[in-house]
């Protein structure tokens, strides 16, 4: 039992290390970049060297600098999309969770329809309507994920509301808003945080897919997805340019997943037994 426990907190630590590293790179990129992002003095497709640690792209731009800006985009997409999903999803899910029969049923049906749409499809729909920009991408991804958050919230709220301590506090005259703050939120929060962490990683992947298709952030603020798309044409001369952005993406998603695993373990100690 003890051994399992230490392995679990180990996954939280590794996840935190990965994500803090990416966050640190992002923070540094705000005040310092090895070269300005549109500086093309490095020579086209130069191989890795001391002046350009990962070489340059086909326009002579430094790859390290571009990857650092990519980290900035990945994190901001993750945060903003999860923020949108959190606000919209929590509100809808709470409403459905507290609502009575017909309102609850129609809200749930709506959520089921929304969830049936893969996020990428929804995102492409919104990008088709609004034109491709980082805001469109964030908006689209956030909205797509809010249905998932909403359905989870509804389920959790229903489960908590069926508990005896809710009946007890209603009987003792506590108002509904007070019950939400005192009893509902604290009980559903742990599970929601885990879901937020997972969605954070998925948002990064979704934005990279959109950017890869040329439907994400416009140049020169290239995300990891567009870096990969550009590097594909020159993968023979400079494979590292195609490998590096993908590795960063994988690290980001694995990082948040490890954190989610660790948090889930803390939130629900009964899981320790079953894994």
């Amino acid at each position: 039992m003890n051994q399992v426990k230490s392995r679990r907190s180990w996954s939280l630590i590794v996840g935190l290390v990965i994500i803090s590293t990416i966050t640190l790179v992002t923070l540094i990129s705000l005040v310092w970049l090895p070269y300005p992002i549109d500086n093309t003095d490095g020579g086209r497709l130069s191989p890795p060297s001391w002046s350009h640690l990962l070489g340059t792209d086909k326009l002579g731009r430094d790859l390290v600098a571009r990857l650092m800006v990519g980290a900035r985009i990945a994190l901001s997409v993750g945060f903003s999309a999860v923020l949108i999903a959190g606000i919209v999803g929590l509100t809808l899910g709470m409403a459905a969770g507290f609502a009575q029969r017909w309102l609850d049923e129609s809200l749930s049906a709506l959520l089921d329809i929304l969830i049936a749409f893969p996020t990428l499809l929804l995102a492409m729909l919104i990008v088709a309507a609004r034109g491709s920009s980082l805001t469109s991408a964030i908006f689209a991804i956030g909205l797509g994920m809010s249905a998932i958050i909403a359905r989870l919230t509804r389920l959790l709220v229903k489960r908590v509301l069926a508990k005896d301590f809710i009946t007890a506090s209603r009987a003792s005259g506590t108002s509904w808003p007070r019950i939400i703050v005192l009893h509902v939120l604290p009980n559903i929060w742990p599970t929601l945080i885990v879901s937020f962490a997972l969605q954070f990683g998925l948002a990064g992947l979704a934005e990279a897919s959109l950017s890869y298709l040329g439907l994400g952030a416009p140049p020169p603020n290239a995300s990891w997805g567009s870096l990969l798309q550009e590097a594909q044409a020159t993968v023979m001369t400079s494979p590292i340019a195609a490998i590096a952005p993908g590795l960063f993406l994988v690290a980001l998603v694995i990082g948040v997943n490890l954190i989610a695993d660790g948090l889930r373990e803390i939130a629900d100690p009964t899981l320790r037994r079953s894994r």
């Binding site: 089921d112 893969p118 990428l120 492409m124 088709a128 594909q232």
Partner: protein, 321 residues
């Protein structure tokens, strides 16, 4: 079952109606006039009016919507604004690539994931059980286009044993040739998909292995194999089927990205191109067909799930899932 079937079918129809309204509203109200795609900068008011008349954007919204519903019900999606080809046949010809690509990759992925997931669960404590678990965690983290690019680098450019993209001009008339071109795209999709499927198979199997009914069956004298085939498989199947349905839908949509990586003339590349060109009839057509496919897959997955596990039918009335 019949009652459930009716309810679930009504839900499917409702979803389709809502989805088509959403598609129409999103694509008509938010952006600029679709007629703009026909015009160059500095067009005269007469030219603008003519272009609007040609694409029908001068009609009242409700008329535009009714036209759109009339076209949908016959799977006619009008004509492309850019090339003035009818959208329906174009979509059909694109589907003849996307559907086989998705289905073959899906079958390969399931064929890999089922045994791997079982082994990962049964041998969870061994080193290869741990290894398989690691593999199964990678699926949600690895971007499918990255795998595609790396496969192209290794198999098409470095060792030059497979083509890097496209399909033979004669298409399915040359089945072995086309399959050779689809091998890398199929491998790309199947790798990523089998990884995430392995995870679900593994956890469903672990749930069964730790269950009370399996222990009871064993204590009543069934052999492990008997207990597993009689009780275990059915119980593990329901959640796995629902996940497989979701994964199939995701793969169908994810094929958009893979088709772009390998420059395949499928539904996905048509969608990306039409979005870039603001070709609204094509966008609407492709998105409607994709939506239809996704909803149908969900419908079938739900039905199969309930045939396998009838307990789900009698679960709470408001819950369709």
């Amino acid at each position: 079952m019949a009652k459930y079937l009716v309810r679930r079918f009504a839900f499917l129809l409702l979803s389709l109606v809502l989805a088509s309204i959403a598609l129409f509203v999103l694509l008509r109200i938010i952006p600029g006039d679709p007629a703009n795609a026909l015009l160059s900068v500095g067009a005269t008011p007469e030219q603008i009016a003519a272009a609007q008349h040609e694409v029908g954007s001068d009609l009242p919204l409700i008329v535009q919507f009714l036209n759109w519903v009339r076209d949908l019900s016959t799977f006619q999606f009008g004509e492309s604004i850019i090339s003035s080809y009818p959208v329906g046949p174009e979509i059909t010809s694109r589907l003849s690539l996307t559907v086989p690509l998705t289905l073959i990759a899906f079958v390969v992925a399931v064929a890999i994931a089922l045994p791997l997931g079982f082994i990962a669960a049964f041998k969870a404590k061994t080193w290869y059980g741990t290894l398989l678990n690691g593999f199964s965690q990678l699926g949600i983290a690895i971007p499918v286009f990255w795998v595609g690019v790396i496969f192209i680098y290794i198999f098409a450019l470095k060792f030059m044993i497979l083509p890097s993209g496209g399909v033979p001009p004669e298409g399915w008339a040359n089945i072995p040739g086309t399959l050779k071109y689809l091998l890398l795209p199929i491998a790309t999709i199947a790798l990523v998909m089998s990884s995430s499927l392995t995870r679900y198979v593994r956890s469903a199997t672990l749930d069964v292995l730790g269950s009370d009914y399996l222990r009871t069956a064993r204590s009543m004298g069934s052999t492990f194999t008997q207990a597993m085939t009689r009780h275990g498989l059915r119980n593990a199947a329901a959640p796995v089927i629902s996940i497989i349905g979701i994964e199939l839908a995701t793969t169908f949509v994810g094929a958009v990205v893979v088709e772009s990586v390998f420059a395949l003339p499928g539904l996905g590349s048509l969608l990306v191109r039409s979005i870039a060109q603001h070709d609204y009839p094509v966008i609407q057509g492709v998105l409607f067909v994709s939506t239809f496919a996704v909803l149908m897959i969900g419908f079938l997955a739900d039905l199969i799930q309930r045939i396998v596990d009838p307990r789900l039918i009698s679960s709470s009335a408001g819950d369709l899932r």
